[in-house]
């Protein structure tokens, strides 16, 4: 697995996602050398306090992504509720209120596919627990563009639909299906 030239990390999760992220994000140090962009499904109509929730739990900067914002390392970005989050080729964010994908807006596929086009081989995509097939096609696109695609081991996931959907789409590689702990260790091992 080529992880020596990663410039950004994208993460997708649904049911059980908050718990899973609570095992990952607090372990990353202040000023972590990569940006981390996250789509986490939350019930629609609910205001999202994701960025507030994680603000106190990690030393990295945490915020909701804004349109045209330049993506910076050391920062964790959450997709705003009700909007798809996309990454442009100039490494800025855009937002869209297009149709839901797999009943979700924000959708993981939309983020992953645009990130794959923008970052190509320099992207690491991680799909965690979830009860929706959203994200599988996006993770496949990341792999197709030469990026690194990781899946939480469905046996360790609170909901296995999401990681299983991805596993059946991806070209199987070693070190692709990992526990949360292994994901953390890999993130900490990534070189500057």
């Amino acid at each position: 697995m080529k992880t020596d030239q990663i410039n950004a990390v994208v993460i997708g999760a649904s049911a059980g996602g908050i718990e899973a992220l609570q095992q990952i994000l607090p372990r990353l140090p202040k000023g972590y050398h990569l940006p981390i962009v996250i789509v986490l499904h939350i019930p629609s109509g609910q205001r999202s306090y994701l960025s507030e929730l994680f603000l106190t739990k990690t030393d990295m900067l945490v915020k909701e992504a804004d349109e045209k914002e330049v993506i910076k390392s050391g920062t964790i970005y959450f997709a705003p509720p009700g909007y798809h989050l996309l990454i442009e080729r100039d490494f800025t964010f855009s937002l869209s209120t297009e149709e839901s994908v797999h009943y979700s807006r924000p959708s993981i596929d939309v983020l992953f596919e645009s990130a794959a086009e923008a970052f190509g081989t320099h992207l690491l995509g991680i799909l965690l627990t979830g009860a929706s097939p959203d994200g599988a096609a996006g993770l496949k696109r990341i792999q197709d563009r030469g990026g690194v695609a990781l899946i939480q081991n469905p046996d360790t996931a609170l909901a296995r639909v999401m990681p299983e959907a991805a596993r059946s789409l991806l070209l199987p590689l070693s070190e692709q299906v990992l526990s949360l702990e292994e994901i953390v260790l890999l993130l900490l091992r990534l070189k500057r």
């Binding site: 045209k68 996309l86 855009s94 869209s96 297009e98």
Partner: protein, 275 residues
């Protein structure tokens, strides 16, 4: 995916200007259009839409994102009702511009609000969009029954004084809004990218349109709104949109930060902006 040549040729032939739209989302929609319009490549899509205007309007359905909702973000409408309309009430007559009105959900919501605040009779609403099919839908005022539950919840959260069903007649699969709501609405084809200002207004509501534009085009559009608005006129934007980082940042005050409602600053002594 290189959309440049397609967008350039569309502009030359049809005068629809998508050249300054955010790329990632346009590429996604172009890919959907290729698939649904049975084109294997962008070149093929380009040939098709240049040869056939009907095909161009099919493509327009993909290039414009028409998803909308009545009383979307109820707190916005609540703020209009409680904080802004009391000020607008002091005007003898009102002109309101809903820019990028799509299929009409936003302008019908405003009409209902104005009706309940006793303002509809002295208000003219301009509802504009570039998508003629959306405008025709908006004019009909018919919405899918399946969406009405959501609209009703939103209406109630926005401080609605009656029941939303007072304003429509339901049939098997749709609801049709009362014609009394549309009598003061003018629907017209107007592009924020290529057209100019057509009227002075006291309030412009433009929500979830600017997110699709690049900075240059956003600046153009803020210029149009600035020109259209009267002194102390209001500008309401979507929850992720702001004039604060634009060329017009100093020409507006933040009226209600939570709801992204801005107010045009009254300039003294004819300060001229540098362009």
């Amino acid at each position: 995916m290189e959309l440049g040549p397609l967008l350039e040729s569309i502009y030359l032939q049809y005068h629809y200007d998508f050249r300054h739209y955010s790329k990632a989302s346009m590429e996604r929609r172009a890919a959907q259009a290729m698939f649904r319009m049975n084109c294997k490549s962008l070149i093929e899509l380009q040939e098709k839409v240049l040869l056939n205007a009907e095909a161009f309007f099919d493509l327009l359905q993909f290039f414009t994102v028409s998803v909308s909702e009545m009383f979307r973000d109820p707190s916005y409408y609540l703020a209009l009702r409680e904080k802004m309309f009391p000020i607008l009430k002091t005007y003898p007559s009102l002109k309101i511009w809903v820019a990028g009105c799509s299929t009409g959900e936003e302008v019908y919501s405003l009409a209902i609000l104005l009706q309940e605040e006793g303002l509809l009779d002295r208000t003219i609403l301009y509802a504009t969009d570039i998508n003629p099919r959306s405008l025709a839908e908006a004019e009909r005022g018919v919405f899918a029954l399946g969406d009405v539950q959501k609209f009703t919840q939103n209406y109630q959260k926005s401080g609605g004084k009656h029941s939303l069903s007072d304003y429509y007649i339901a049939s098997i699969d749709s609801v049709k809004f009362d014609r009394s709501l549309v009598k003061n609405i003018t629907f017209s084809d107007h592009s924020l990218a290529t057209d100019s200002v057509f009227s002075e207004t006291q309030f412009v509501s433009c929500r979830n349109v600017l997110i699709y534009f690049d900075r240059d085009l956003q600046n153009r559009v803020f210029g149009l709104f600035h020109e259209s608005l009267c002194r102390k006129g209001f500008l309401g934007l979507g929850t992720k949109e702001t004039v604060e980082f634009s060329k017009y940042a100093n020409d507006f005050n933040v009226f209600l930060p939570e709801e992204h409602i801005f107010q045009k600053i009254e300039k003294r002594g004819g300060v001229k902006r540098e362009d």
